[in-house]
Structure formats: C-alpha cells, structure tokens
C-alpha cells in the first residue's frame, strides 16, 4: 500500500507541476466560471430575494461546467509525444495512475471553486461564510464526486476522435445524484443553517456516491487503460 500511495503522489505532483507551469486549463476554467456567473445574471434578476433559495444550484452548475474543462484534459494532455503509453508502460498500476490524476484534478477544481465562490457571493449578494467549515466539507465531497466521474470518463474516452463532443453528454447524467445532493446541502448552508435533520439524508447519499464510484473506478480503470 505505501507503494500505491507513493506512486499516486508522484503522478499527482507531476500533474500539478505541469499544470501550474502552464496554467492552461486553470486559467480557462476560472475565466469560464466567471463568464457563467455573468451569464446567470441575464437569466434572472440577480437582486431578487429568491437568489438565496437556488444559490446551491447556480453554484454547482458553475462548478460542474467550469470543472469539465479541467477534467476533460486530464488524460488527453498525455497524448502528445505518446506520454500516455509511457505512463501505462511504467511500473505503476492503473489504479495508482488514476488515483494520482484524480487527486491533482481535485485540488485544481477546489482552486477554481475558491475563486468563483467569493465572486459569486459578491455578484449575487450572498453571505456564504456563515457555515464555513460545513460548506467546505460539502464542497470537498461534491468536488470529489465530480472528480472521480470526470477523471474516469476522461480515461474512457481518451482515444476517441470525438472526445470533446462525447464527454459532457456522458458525464453529467452520471453525476446527477451527486450534484443534487451537493445542491441541496449547499443551498441549506448558504441559507445560514447548520446541517441536521432531514438534510442529512443528502449528506449520506453524497458520501455513498463518493465511496461507490471511487471503488468502481479504481477497480475498472486498469481495464480501461490497459485492456
């Protein structure tokens, strides 16, 4: 197991390093999240009182759309110079490769969220920090769900010609239960109430989703990459 952990960390560090040097996906994703936040303001009256009621939905749509830009590239970025073949041939298990890439994506998505959440609060006049730590926990769980599905499907479609066209249609329907839970919990927390009572069922669903799909992805990724 320490070997698995070390391999994953190596891959995660490599991915983070190469992304932080170019900042290609990160810049695109952050700017895209700002563009979506701007577009939402035309879809409804942002000063209305109801904004708080669907703030969770807005936020997670921003995260899901902007995050896709990072997740889509996760494996595709290894295609030039046959890097993917080198990674597969290296003495690292497919699961460790996946775990490392997922960890790097997770941190990058959290970075995008850390920028767009305060901007969202300013643009739509939302006090989101009342339940800061619980919100941070929900963000982490929801983002991990998106990361696992996104990274797995990035691996699944890496060799396809129509990769960019296929991914959004495949990824979002699978994510729906996790997104729904995250939306419910976030709306609740942004409303200033701590988690408890009926809302906990969503937390359980989100945790279960994370566990089920992490296990499924780790066990199937070797098949997807190697054959």
């Amino acid at each position: 197991m320490p070997g698995f952990l070390r391999d994953s960390l190596t891959i995660a560090a490599k991915d983070l390093r190469s992304e932080l040097r170019t900042k290609e996906a990160l810049n695109a994703s952050v700017s895209f999240s700002l563009v979506i936040l701007l577009l939402f303001s035309f879809a409804f009256d942002p000063s209305a009182d109801q904004t708080r009621e669907f703030s969770g939905g807005l936020l997670w749509l921003v995260f899901a759309f902007a995050g896709a830009l990072i997740l889509n590239r996760s494996f595709a970025r290894e295609l030039p110079n046959d890097c993917l073949d080198a990674l597969i041939a290296s003495p690292i298990s497919g699961a460790a490769l996946f775990a490392g890439k997922a960890a790097a994506n997770f941190l990058l998505l959290l970075a995008v969220e850390a920028v767009s959440l305060p901007v969202f609060g300013v643009f739509y006049n939302i006090r989101w920090w009342d339940q800061f730590w619980q919100l941070a926990g929900v963000l982490a769980l929801g983002t991990w769900a998106m990361t696992v599905i996104g990274t797995m499907f990035s691996a699944l479609t890496v060799n396809l010609r129509l990769r960019e066209l296929m991914l959004p249609t495949l990824v979002y329907p699978v994510m729906i239960p996790a997104l729904m839970s995250a939306i419910q919990l976030t709306t609740h927390l942004v409303g200033g109430q701590p988690l408890g009572g009926d809302v906990l069922v969503w937390l359980r669903l989100l945790v279960a989703f994370d566990i089920i799909f992490t296990a499924l992805a780790l066990s199937l990724v070797e098949t997807v990459l190697v054959g």
């Binding site: 699944l156 060799n159 296929m166 495949l170 329907p173 009926d198 089920i212 098949t223």
Partner: protein, 225 residues
C-alpha cells in the same frame, strides 16, 4: 434453430397481444376516476419493466465480457441496451400521452418521469459512445465499463430523485393508489408479450451484428487479395 424460436416467440406474442387487447378494450370496464385513457397503463408499466430487464441483461453481459473477453457478450449487451432504450422511450411517450389527458400537460418534473429521462439519457450516451469507437475490442471494453457505471447509477438516481421531489410540491400524489385485481392481472399478462417481443428484437439485432462481422471479414479478405 434460432429462426424457429423467433417465429414461435413472435407468433405467441401476437396471439397473446390480440387476446389482451380484446380483454382490455372490450371486457374490462373503464377506471372510475380516469376513464378510458387508464388502459395505457397496460403498456406503459410493462414497457418500463421490460426496459429495466434489458438494461440488467446488458449489465450482466458487460461483466461477462470483461471476465471472458468474448465479443458475443458485447453484442448481446449492445442489443439488449438498444431494445431496452426503445422500450424506455415507449414508456416515456405513453406516459406523456397519459399526462396530457389526465394532468393537462405533456411533461412535469415528477420523480418517476425525471428518473426515467435520466436513465434514458444514460443509455443513449452508451449507444452514442459505441458509434465513436471503431476498433471492436476497444469498443467492447469501453462500453462494458460505461454500462456498469450506468447500471450502478440508475438506482441511486431513482432514490435521490424521489427524495428530491418529496421536499418539493408536486402535481400528483403517487405510490398510494390501490388497483383492482383484474387490472393487476392484465398488467402482468401484458408484460409477457412485451418480453417476448423484446427477446425477438434482441435476436434480430444479434443476427444483424453477426452478418456485419461476416461482411467485415469478407471485406478484409478481399483487401488482402
């Protein structure tokens, strides 16, 4: 042998359908609250059950493919998904027609409608993915993994949407409706021909797939010449 099965199954399905149609249209009385349109349930509900049977078959065959690497399992998985998707579409469309008459609207974000639509989209994605991969064994591998993901996701979707909607106002109350036993019998009795039709469709689709593979082989042979 397979031909004979197909003829036998479809003949039996046709006879049973004619008999069921006669009973449900002539013998069974109109439902008290909904009137004649109620009869759509005899196709609407079994279509959903058949669709899920198809998706389940695809799930099992996908696991078998990954375990045994026999392309036959992949072909069955593909055929079962296609037929399941057709039945799911039948379920959605018949439900919309019923909704138009009873609720006055074609669509509402009722839990079952929403879940079925997500389910339909998941498997439509599966078929779309298949078209994008040319190499057969790669296609089989990728779509088997997607099929497993989709099938694991479906129950989670159904539960979560049910919870989601119970916290929101909804146009209809559901789940508590009692139905007369003659209606229940009809529901199950009409499921049999639908399953038979699904099996025949899957067999036809499999034969097409085999023919396609033969054509590909001949084409490769011709190229080699």
């Amino acid at each position: 042998m397979r031909e004979r099965f197909m003829i036998l199954f479809s003949g039996f399905a046709a006879v049973l359908l004619v008999r069921n149609l006669y009973v449900m249209l002539v013998k069974l009385p109109d439902e008290a609250a909904q009137g004649a349109i109620f009869r759509i349930i005899f196709f609407h509900v079994p279509a959903a059950w058949t669709a899920f049977l198809g998706f389940f078959a695809a799930f099992v065959c996908s696991i078998l493919y990954l375990a045994k690497r026999n392309l036959r399992y992949d072909a069955v998985s593909m055929a079962a998904t296609e037929v399941g998707l057709a039945f799911a579409a039948g379920n959605l469309i018949s439900g919309m027609i019923w909704g138009r008459i009873i609720w006055g609207i074609w669509w509402t974000w009722d839990p079952r409608l929403t879940s079925m639509l997500i389910c339909w989209l998941l498997y439509a994605g599966y078929l779309m993915l298949r078209r994008a991969v040319e190499e057969p064994s790669q296609r089989a591998r990728i779509s088997a993994v997607l099929s497993i993901f989709a099938f694991v996701d479906v129950p989670i979707v159904f539960f979560s949407i049910k919870w989601w909607r119970t916290q929101h106002p909804q146009p209809v109350v559901w789940g508590g409706g009692a139905m007369d036993s003659s209606y229940w019998n009809m529901l199950f009795l009409n499921w049999v021909p639908l399953i038979l039709i699904a099996v025949v469709l899957i067999l036809i689709r499999l034969r097409q797939e085999e023919a396609q593979r033969e054509i590909d082989a001949v084409r490769r042979w011709a190229h080699a010449l």
